[in-house]
Amino acid sequence: MGIQIGIYQGRYGGLVADISPLLTACLFETDEHGFSVCTATVQMDLYSAFGLYDSTGVLWLHATEFGDRVWSGRLQGREIVPGGIRLQAAGAWVYLLDAPYTEMWTNSSYRDWEIMPVTDGVDRWPQRFEADNNNRLFAAARTGETYGNSAPGSKALIWGLPLPAGSSRKFVRAAFDYRIEGIDTNWVFGFQRRDASGAFLGNILLVASIAGVVGPTSYSATFTACDRVAFFLQRSAADAVYTSATGSTNARLTGLRVMTTTSPALYSDEILRDLVAFVSTVNPLGISSATNQIQSPGLDLANEEYADALPGTIVDRLAKLGDSQTPPRLWRAAIWEDNVLRFEPRSADRTWFVDVADVSVSRALDRTVTSVYGVYQDANAITQRTAVVSDAAAIATLGIDRRDHVSVRTTSSAEAAVAANALLADQSTLDARGQVVVRSISDEYGATYPLHYVRAGHDVVIRNLPPSLSTDVDRIRRFRISRTIYDPIADLVTIVPENATELLDVAMLRATLG
């Protein structure tokens, strides 16, 4: 009839100890990532306490009632305290923080391209060319230099982009616009596959006998996997001094994007499926390898390259990008009792109705935003700002325009605009700050449920507030939960509204933990 709390040998392993009747303090928390933290103090004799303290392998804490998994997570900390042991557990999301992830997915940044140096091989002669990667890849012949294909090999300028070391994915697609100008038919431009060391593997695109202007021409295609892609410009005839004006023979690439996926667009769900496979391979008994709960935001991502990044951080970032809808919806990622990563638009999974005796909420304008612009760096590392997007209704309601910005790690103005719209959608309504302590919940039919049913991501409607209160302006009567703290011993749940301030979170956590 109660919540049984047991320590188990792994997620699916045998029962080590049923600590339920020995608990003197216990808190179960949920947040945007699912089950977040559990702290439990267990009354035990010293032998038993050290037995638990010294258990090898991964221990899990499961709390179960009537088949419902009230809380579940991996034991992260054990501390011997007077009269027993204090345990700290973290929800399955913690598996996304266990091992860093390095992969290239797509790159649209000119800054990342580098001129392959002479020391890398015999086929490069970069010092004889004019070149830049300012908002383009550019190479041009310079007056007075000698160009040609005599020994020790053809002399070329090569722009190359390698995969980050440790990336298992390979380049398989590229798209770009190229414009080439040549003084005679002895000049050649190409797009190549190369290996990790820079050695030539094969040409993907070859434009020979350039005379006059070629392009601009769009290129978009897949090719055989490789570790490095490169563009080159060279003279394919015998060595000769270039006497024409500098720049009169040149190659210029814009709209450049290379990918490690074959489809022309990259959506978050494809990355997330790979992350799930990565995490479930590193720790096979961690999260489920199932990806059926990952939805696609339909937002094409231009720059996704991860070097030693924690999967949890990556997932969070992808969720914050929103989706392709107008205005974009906010997304969330969480792992609950089924151990499956869920990636989906935020919505109210359930709505609970509560009557509260003590309400501690306040409102302030300083978190409210009525117009937003995005800040990003373009391909030349120049800081850019998107156009301002506004919520006219919110401005009219509040009587002022509170403008904010959102910094986005992208070179795409479209992505920055999406983030700005997402922030506006989320914060153009006045925040309610505070917390609500609840001792009873019911659904829309008045049916009462156990308090541990309330989780982050659910909506709460407070029924016994004054009816004159506007529900549209202020998220007091109805709000979405960002965090819950359930005390099964006192049988009460503390609910924190979405968008509460960090300061409030800290204060509440300290107050709750005593």
């Binding site: 009839m1 919540i3 339920s20 020995l22 009537f66 049916a447 099964p488 011993i489």
Partner: protein, 472 residues
């Protein structure tokens, strides 16, 4: 009927009598009007391991009497030792439980000291920094009559209620999964600790296996298992069919099978039967026996609470297909006022490669009251003869509950008793004249326990220790 009250603290070997049950004075005499038992409130905590009532603090003032000064000191030491032992027991140390035994004057259920009400002591009250024994300032001034006066004794009774006697009920071996209705010798007025022993018959297939299943104990008649042969179930569209599956010992002989026509969410099957009328205005849990056999397919199974005009999503469950072995899945709870809401299911598959199917054999609808117990079991059956599963409700004998497997009908304390892995609260609390027990446990490709040639059966024995908050 007792004409004199009896009150004692005892671990079974050492007893401190505070009221003797006779007119004579006990060695530990209670001061007149120095104690009244605390009547417990309902338990606020939702943590398992306790009964339905809060632990209570008892405080009484006594006089410790001896035949000499040394004897008085010795008696004081015995009392102190028992209270310390109670604290140690509660911390899990290997010492005997310490009981408070009480036979109030005029009680019909406890007429004498031989049949006392009992509760277990788990230590001293909050903020009490003594052993449970506090001496007065007169301690060293009253030795002319070898009595230590005004000794305050404080302890916590674990269950907040008094237990007395036991009530049993049993049922001969019957078909699984149940529910099997066990008739008790009597109904009791209050929720009381209940122990259970299950005897499995014809379950061992001649080779080791792991019994993974869900044990459900409930009192209410609405506890029902509806198999696929029930008349009221209907699936919409041709994606749902109702074939027989006797080869796998399907309960009722049939399954409802979903053969998805696309990778979208399938049409629904509504799991209705006449028995669900008893569940109106009741919060009940939904369990289902499901088989997702197609390899390489990820199944997304959704459950909804449905009435004529609305459908409310419950849990979404993911199964990686590829096993012909059924599994028991918990799909959440339904509690909707008014008309009966029924579970409905849909299936979504990740691919149509392999022509995936998904079968449902039965659905358990379980009213979730305080008297309901749900335990998920994982028991390695490594040899024949381990036929008894014991769910011991030991609110009076052990600080923590235990679920075990034995070869012996006597249960705990006997040879060949093995604690097993469980999830869920094993503290069973019942009071009704009928206790219903079900074991939802497929084995290998069978929908229920099966030894390979015969479906297993199960005998049930229930023992309840009636509890009272005030004496009768």
């Amino acid at each position: 009927m007792a004409t004199q009250p009896y009150l004692a603290i005892s671990d079974g070997l050492t007893t401190v009598e505070i009221q003797s049950g006779t007119a004579s004075l006990a060695a530990y005499a209670m001061r007149e009007n120095a104690w009244a038992p605390t009547v417990a409130e309902m338990l606020h905590s939702r943590i398992s391991g306790y009964g339905p009532y809060s632990p209570v603090v008892e405080t009484l003032t006594i006089e410790v009497r001896g035949s000499s000064i040394a004897d008085a000191y010795a008696k004081l030491s015995v009392l102190n030792g028992l209270l310390e032992q109670a604290h140690r027991w509660a911390r899990g140390e290997k010492v005997a439980a310490v009981m408070v035994n009480w036979s109030p004057m005029g009680s019909s259920l406890s007429p004498n000291s031989g049949t006392p009400y009992r509760d277990v002591i788990i230590g001293v009250g909050p903020n009490n920094q003594t052993s449970g024994v506090r001496l007065s300032a007169e301690f060293d001034q009253t030795f002319s009559d070898y009595a230590i006066r005004d000794v305050t004794v404080q302890f916590v009774r674990r269950n907040g209620a008094w237990s007395i006697g036991s009530v049993v009920g049993s049922l001969a071996a019957a078909a699984l999964p149940g529910p099997l209705a066990v008739t008790m010798a009597q109904a009791d007025p209050f929720l009381s600790p209940t122990a259970l022993q299950l005897q499995l018959v014809n379950h061992y297939p001649g080779a080791p296996y792991t019994l993974n299943g869900t044990l459900i104990v409930a009192e209410e008649a609405g506890f029902n298992i509806i198999d696929a042969s029930a008349a009221g179930i209907y699936g919409l569209s041709g994606e749902w069919t109702n074939p027989t599956d006797a080869a796998n010992a399907a309960v009722g002989g049939e399954v409802w099978r979903c053969t998805p026509a696309s990778t979208n969410e399938s049409d629904v099957v509504n799991w209705e039967s006449a028995g669900q009328q008893a569940l109106a205005n009741t919060r009940y849990g939904v369990w289902a026996a499901v088989r997702a056999p197609t390899a390489g397919v990820t199944y997304t199974i959704r459950c909804y609470a449905f009435n004529t005009i609305r459908s409310i999503p419950l849990k979404t469950v993911t199964i990686e297909g590829g096993s012909s072995n059924p599994v028991i899945i918990y799909f959440g709870t339904i509690l909707v006022r008014g008309t009966v809401w029924v579970p409905r299911f849909t299936v979504q598959v990740s691919t149509l490669t392999g022509s995936p199917t998904c079968d449902f054999n039965y659905v358990a609808l379980v009213p979730l009251y305080p008297s309901t117990t749900v335990i998920d079991l994982s028991i390695p059956m490594s040899a024949s003869g381990y036929d008894y599963i014991n769910v011991e409700n030991l609110l009076l004998q052990r600080p923590t509950p235990i679920v075990s497997l034995t070869t012996y009908s006597g249960g705990l304390g006997e040879a060949n008793t093995f604690p097993v892995t469980y999830y869920g609260d094993p503290i069973m609390i019942t009071k009704a004249a009928t206790v219903r027990v079900a074991l939802l446990a497929p084995r290998a490709n069978y929908w229920r326990l099966h030894n390979g040639s015969t479906p297993a059966t199960m005998a049930v024995s229930v023992t309840r220790q009636p509890m009272y908050r005030v004496p009768v």
